[in-house]
Structures are given as C-alpha cells and as structure tokens.
C-alpha cells in the first residue's frame, strides 16, 4: 500500500480540509508507516530547497554579455529520450560531443551510448567516460561496457575503479563487490563470454550507426513519426475551429469530462479529455459519446481513440485521446505520429490519483 503522500503534502501545506487533516494527523500518530512517509516527504521538501545553483558555463555568460545573437544549437550535444513510455522511461540514446564542455547525463533506466567524453550519473553511480562505451541501468544494477578508451566509476563504497577497453563492470545486486585495489573483479567464464558477445554486439552497432546526429534524430523520427502537415484540402469539419466547436457541443452530453488539451498544430486535430467522473461505466459512456460525435459530424471517417486509466487505491484517473480523419487518409507515418502526439498528451493526465 502506497503512503498517502499527496494528502500528506496537502497537510504540510495547510491545504487539507479540517476533518481530513484531523484524521490524517491521527494516522500519523498511530501508524509508524504514515509517520515515516510524512517525515520522508518533509525531508524531500528540505532537500529540494537545499539544491545548489551553480553558475552557468563561463563561455555562456560571455556570450550573454557579448550581446551576440548566436545560439548554441549547432554546437550542442544531443541526447534524446522518448517522452512516452512511463515515468521511468528508458533513455536509449546516442550522444555526440561537439564542444569542449564535458556533458553531464543522467540515466535513470535503460541504456546510454557514449562516443567521446561524458560524465554519466547512472542510477546513483557516477561514471566518467572517455572513449566509446555503453552504460546500462536496470533496477538496482548498473553495467558499464567499454569498447574503446576508459570509464572511471565510483562504486557504492566510494572506491574508484577503471574499466578499460573490451571490459565490462556491473554494480548492483548481481555483481561482486568492487575491488579495493581498483582492478576488475574476477568474472566466471560464462559471464566473460557473455560480456564478449555483448561488446561484439556493441561494436557492431556503433560501427553501423557511426554515431551521427542524423542517426539519433532518425531513430526518434521512426518512433514518433515525422511532423504531419495539414493537407491543402480537407473537409471543414476536420479543421480546428469546426472540430473544437463540434467537440464542445457534444461534450455538453458527457458530464464529468473536460478538455485537457486540444492540439491542432499538426494534422489531424487531437483532443485529450480528462474524465473527472470515473464512476462505473465511464468507459462505455465515453465510447457512446465518441460514436455520437462521429455519427453526427464525422461520417466516413477513421477514428483514433485511446482510453487511459490509472487506479491508485481506488482513486481513478481517466483520460481519452481522440482524433478524426477522412477514411483511409492517414498514412502509416501519420498514424505513428498521431499515436505519439496523443500519447504524450495523455501521459500528462496520468500523473497521479485524482481526489475523490
């Protein structure tokens, strides 16, 4: 059972109504777990307040003061993660290092390929890479595989060690403890064979990609679809103004739903709805609403719809993504793009439990 962090936060901020506040205070007194959660939340707030603000890189300040209009975009490193896919989304990424500054990258989950110099915070483990390497973060396990150059890392005990070319090192539950002498721990033969295969595969992938910026961008484009421009000719009902108007009119018949976002920046228009009334049967009511809207204004159309739901201790949050397009008019890229756009918006709705 998750601690009632949100209510504890409201209590901390004085935003919890009296009866609920009293009840929660009583739980804090009576239940060690709730007391612990309250203390943890308070400590978290203090931690945020104590974060340090370091100065900007000197070259950047110099540029500001030089009043130059130059932007850093052409010289920036680019490492990208897919926004969709959960709060701990894997960060499969490729880094390019074009400037003199050593990039700082955080990898929460997933893998990071590096070509050049970078400081990685892999889970809690700082890793300094100078060469070609892959850092993989799985729950409680960090693996650094080096293809060329070196990786310096600091294990949980604070002892630094160096991983050389062709070597790999794992920190976490499945690893042996880092050696105090800084050498790699002895690995069983099967593990070595697996690592060699892994390094071989990594080498192949790196050679294939040549780590060009276009690779990173192309990879993302494949998963997000290229931006979808509005066609020159499309029925009036699909255009932003009419879509919004039809939608708002129809929503009058769906109490407990509100527009979360309306995105017509690309074709087709997408709306996401936040469902505030998630009493039993809400999905069926939403489907009936979409049927009605489609029949009334979008006959001979393809309908893209997604229903998202999160349920946390009985507090249900509902979200709906919806788009209409003339039948068979969407290309595969457009479908991918629609899915990505709507998914990104829906993800914003799914950030936590609704209040009852």
């Amino acid at each position: 059972v998750k601690p009632p962090y949100e209510d504890l936060s409201r209590l901390l901020g004085g935003d919890l109504p009296d009866p609920e506040a009293q009840a929660l205070r009583a739980r804090i007194e009576a239940e060690p777990a709730v007391r612990g959660a309250f203390d943890a939340l308070s400590a978290t707030v203090e931690d945020v307040a104590s974060l340090a603000d370091e100065p900007a890189p000197p070259a950047l300040d110099a540029r500001v003061l030089g009043a130059t209009k130059a932007r850093s975009r052409t010289a920036r490193a680019g490492w990208w993660s897919l926004g969709a896919g959960g709060l701990l989304a894997a960060a499969a990424a490729v880094a390019l290092f074009l400037g003199p500054r050593v990039p700082q990258i955080t990898v929460v989950d997933g893998e990071q390929l590096v070509d050049g110099r970078a400081n990685i915070l892999a889970d809690d483990v700082p890793v300094e890479i100078d060469g070609k390497a892959r850092v993989t973060v799985e729950p409680a396990v960090v693996t650094v595989a080096v293809l060329e150059g070196t990786a310096r890392l600091t294990g949980p005990s604070g002892v630094p060690l160096v991983v050389g070319a062709g070597e790999s090192h794992t920190i976490g539950e499945s690893s042996t403890a880092p050696s105090v002498t800084g050498t790699l721990p002895t690995e069983p033969a099967s593990r070595i064979a697996a690592l060699e295969a892994e390094v071989h595969e990594l080498r192949r992938r790196l050679e294939q990609s040549e780590l060009q910026g276009a690779f990173a961008r192309g990879q993302l484009t494949a998963q997000q679809g290229p931006p979808s421009e509005w066609p020159a000719e499309v029925g009036e009902a699909y255009r932003p103004a009419a879509f919004e108007q039809h939608l708002k009119t129809a929503l009058a018949d769906l109490p407990g739903a509100e527009i979360h976002a309306l995105d017509c920046s690309e074709y087709p228009c997408i709306v996401t709805l936040r469902i505030t009334d998630t009493s039993p049967g809400w999905e069926a009511r939403v489907e009936a609403f979409v049927d009605e809207l489609g029949t009334e204004h979008y006959p001979n159309s393809d309908t893209w719809m997604a229903i998202a739901k999160s349920d946390d201790e009985g507090h249900v949050v509902g979200g709906v993504g919806l788009a209409f397009s003339p039948e068979y008019s969407l290309t595969e890229d457009m479908r991918t793009r629609t899915h990505y756009r709507a998914g990104s918006l829906l993800q914003e709705i799914e950030f936590g439990p609704a209040k009852p």
Binding site: Y5, A37, L41, E54, D61, S72, R76, Q104, E266, F351
Partner: protein, 179 residues
C-alpha cells in the same frame, strides 16, 4: 564606472540598462546561477534558454522599477519563469522530442558522499517529474516564489498550482522511496 561605490545590485540597474558592460556582468554574476539552475532543470536546451532569458532581462531592464513591489531577483525569476513556460508550451504543441536534462553531478568534492548521493537522487527524481510539476516545485521551494505569483505567470488558477505542487511532491517522495 567605479563599481566599488555600488551598494546593491539595484544600483546597477540604470547602468546595466544603459549598456554598461561591468554592471551587466555583475548582474549576470549575481543572478545567473538562479537563472541557469532553472534553465538546466526545466529545459532540454538550457543554453539557448539561458541566453534568451538574459536578452529579455537586459532588454527590459530600463522598464524595471526598483521601487515597485517586486525585487530585482523576483522580477528576473518571473521573466525566466515566463520564458520557460512559453518554451514548454511550444514544445508541447509541436510534439518535439524531450531531451534529458543536464545535471550537475559532480558538484562538490567536499560534500559528504551520503549527502551528495542524496542530492543526486533528488535531482534525478526531479528530472522525472512532469515539467509543470517540476517547475512549481523548483520555483516555490528552491527559489521561494509564492504560489499565487507562480499561478499568475503560469496563467492558471492558484488551486491548479497547488495541485501540481502536491502531486509533484508526492511523486517525488514516491520516487525517492522506490529508489
């Protein structure tokens, strides 16, 4: 300009507004870390955002009234906040990819390792939060901006900002517990 005679950064405003390089440098030195901290934690392209914010600040400095209700620091933070909200909205409607934020990982070698580790965990957990939640938490807890001012700049109701704050703090605590 004899900056030794200057008593506070407010005194630098007319000089900086007139284009005095040393006065501008002093302002950037004083307020730059806060601006940079927000940009790097809230924006996938923090260097561009930082430069754009300072262009706005320095361009509008002549219109800032030191005798008004806002301090120079609060005003600069508000300009930064507004710009970051604009950038977020633009990114959102365009469906752009989101870059991982750059984080200062090796900030202070003298910090006790447990403390540094804890700070790193908080930075990572913050970077996972939805941007709107992260923005409210940082502006309120790290920079001390009142929630009503944050709501005004965000263009949303105070209740919405409070909701983001509470959900963000809850998620943050949850993530730190998970990890």
């Amino acid at each position: 300009v004899a900056l030794q005679a200057v008593r506070s950064t407010d005194d630098l405003i007319p000089l900086a507004a007139a284009g005095d390089r040393e006065a501008r440098a002093a302002l950037v030195r004083t307020h730059g870390p806060s601006v940079w901290g927000l940009c790097r934690r809230l924006c996938p392209e923090p260097e561009d955002a930082y430069q754009e914010v300072w262009e706005k600040v320095l361009g509008a400095l002549a219109r800032f009234d030191p005798s008004g209700p806002a301090t120079l620091r609060t005003w600069i933070l508000a300009v930064t906040h507004r710009h970051l909200v604009d950038l977020h909205r633009r990114r959102r409607v365009r469906g752009d990819v989101v870059a991982l934020p750059e984080l200062a990982v090796f900030t202070d070698a003298d910090e006790p390792i447990d403390r540094q580790r804890r700070i790193n965990r908080v930075e990572v957990a913050l970077s996972i939060l939805p941007e709107g939640h992260r923005r409210v938490i940082l502006l309120h807890h790290l920079h001390g901006l009142p929630l009503d001012q944050i709501a005004e700049t965000e263009g949303v109701a105070l209740g919405t900002v409070k909701s983001r704050l509470h959900r963000g703090r809850a998620r943050l605590a949850d993530l730190l517990e998970e990890r």
